[in-house]
């Protein structure tokens, strides 16, 4: 069985890595601007906060967008999150975010999860976002 062959897994991982677009930078490198996150806060307040909460805290029923959110998305390209928001959110009107709004909301969420601001806009482009990783939050000591 495959599950008992570590070598097979290692090979599969290598093949997968080769097939994936190269990750150039991550969310800990400053991949969005403060103005973009501010715009994202406005979009969030209008289209997201009614379910996910004003402080992104979520509810028993609706996932929060801080903390556990990082565990759900870390280690993946930001493009995965961009794609998901673009096609599935807001749940009552999926597909209604423009690519620019989508990137702004992601910038806002990244900032809320401690990712540093930078000088360059987070691209509103799925292919470009496939080359940026969503990094785990560094513990504050």
């Amino acid at each position: 069985m495959m599950g008992r062959k570590p070598l097979g897994w290692a090979l599969a991982a290598l093949v997968l890595a080769a097939a994936s677009p190269a990750i150039s930078r991550g969310s800990s490198d400053g991949i969005y601007t403060p103005a973009q996150a501010d715009q994202g806060a406005r979009v969030y307040a209008m289209k997201c906060a009614m379910c996910h909460g004003a402080a992104l805290e979520g509810t028993v029923e609706t996932p929060g967008l801080v903390g556990k959110f990082v565990a759900n998305w870390a280690g993946r390209p930001v493009g995965n999150l961009f794609s998901y928001l673009g096609r599935a959110m807001p749940q009552n009107a999926p597909g209604s975010l423009t690519p620019e709004e989508n990137a702004q909301v992601i910038a806002f969420i990244l900032r809320a999860n401690g990712a540093p601001e930078g000088n360059r806009l987070l691209p509103a482009d799925g292919a470009a976002l496939e080359r940026l990783s969503l990094d785990a939050v560094q513990p504050a000591i």
Partner: protein, 401 residues
């Protein structure tokens, strides 16, 4: 004397009801503790999306890389009610490839039941899920035995589906019977009263020829006649409504029916299932899946996929149609052991509260179709409470609603 509603100790009730309490109930007219349906009793609102799948639940299989994925999602408003039978089908497919352990993705009632059924068959099981069952859409259902509720559209489901549905419904019914009378009453029966000022007629769903749009043309059903209606196939085991004579009717309405309704107490039921899962060595791992390809990363080579409405996006299955529903929950009233309904408004007493529903009778199965707004709206719940509360005042003092 009218009615046989009795006052519970310490409960504030109108003087007329207090007077009735002193009288012994007549044979055939049960003594019922009145429900308190005042707004101060409302402690929770729940809203969720039923995953109606046009062709009925997906129980098919497919390969993702070298993994066998067995689907078990898309049960409409029938997930709880069909859970055991549907798990039996899915786990049977898993067993046919002789695994010693399997993964279950999703921890709603379908996922958790599938996991326990697999364990009872001797398999090691790991559940991978974003949330435990208490935070899933399953826990936001109303929790009655409704195996035919928005389970499929008749056309897309095809000629074979009714037989498979019946098999799953009968299997589930027998399994629920094994859970009756257990501590906490995970499964229970209660008397259900349908009350009306007018003769109670069963609604039919004959096709309206004026409605030309259909699932085939728009991807959404447009009238009740498009839905599969299968409940009559198991009427030999499921209690049916019987008309009540005036001397049997505790509510004093001109017309009434009574039936026995099976329902599920979520806290006790999910505690029981989760306890069995863990006692049998089951492992639960928090995990979010972003695409079917992620299934290829799991160590198990056989995977039961039970993500319910989330499968619409995760598996890009756009035949899964959102059907919004909501419930209001009152403080539990342990002396109240029955339910009432009138004009598609209902109040059902359960261990974790009295469930209030307000379903527009003219909409039928179409209510909430295509609506994925998952925030609750308090007003219809309060409307139902206000309307139903009239049955707990003496008939002579009621105003018709």
């Amino acid at each position: 004397m009218r009615g046989a509603l009795v006052a519970a100790a310490g409960m504030a009730v109108p003087g007329s009801l207090r007077a009735q309490a002193a009288a012994a109930p007549l044979m055939g007219r049960p003594a019922l503790v009145p429900m308190r349906l005042s707004p101060d009793q409302l402690i929770d609102l729940k809203c969720c999306i039923r995953p109606l799948r046009a062709a009925g639940p997906n129980l098919g299989t497919e390969m993702v890389r070298e993994k066998l994925v067995i689907h078990n999602y898309g049960h409409g408003g029938s997930g709880w009610s069909l859970s055991w039978g549907s798990a039996e089908v899915a786990v049977g497919k898993a067993l046919s490839v002789l695994p010693d352990r399997i993964a279950v993705v999703g921890c709603g009632i379908i996922g958790l039941t599938s996991a326990v059924v697999a364990q009872r068959a001797g398999l090691q099981v790991t559940i991978y899920a974003r949330d435990p069952i208490q935070r899933t859409r399953s826990f936001r259902a109303s929790g009655s035995f409704t195996p035919g509720s928005r389970i499929a559209l008749a056309g897309p489901a095809g000629a074979q589906f009714p037989d498979q549905w019946e098999q799953m419904a009968r299997f589930s019914w027998k399994m629920f019977r094994t859970m009756l009378g257990l501590p906490g009453d995970p499964v229970a029966f209660g008397e259900s009263y349908a009350l009306s000022d007018n003769p109670i007629e069963r609604r039919t769903s004959s096709a309206d020829p004026a409605i030309t749009a259909s699932y085939e043309t728009t991807g959404l059903p447009h009238q009740n006649a498009e839905f599969a209606h299968l409940d009559s196939r198991i009427r030999d085991i499921v209690p049916q409504s019987t008309p009540l004579a005036p001397e049997e009717n505790p509510f004093g309405t001109p017309y009434a029916q009574r039936s026995s309704q099976m329902y599920f107490n979520f806290p006790a039921y999910t505690h029981l299932l989760m306890s069995e899962f863990l006692a049998r060595g089951g492992r639960y791992e928090m995990r979010n899946f972003h695409s079917p390809a992620d299934f290829g990363d799991l160590p198990e080579r056989v995977i039961v996929h039970a993500t319910g409405f989330a499968a619409r996006d995760l598996w890009q299955d756009h035949t899964v149609i959102p059907v919004r529903g909501q419930t209001g929950w009152l403080v539990p009233q342990p002396g109240v052991t029955y339910s009432i309904r009138s004009n598609n408004m209902s109040a059902l007493s359960k261990a974790d509260g009295i469930v209030i529903m307000n379903n527009n009778p003219d909409m039928g199965d179409m209510l909430g179709v295509g609506d994925s707004m998952e925030l609750a709206n308090r007003a219809p719940v309060e409307e139902a409470m206000a309307s139903l509360s009239r049955f707990f005042i003496p008939p002579a003092e009621r105003s018709a609603t």
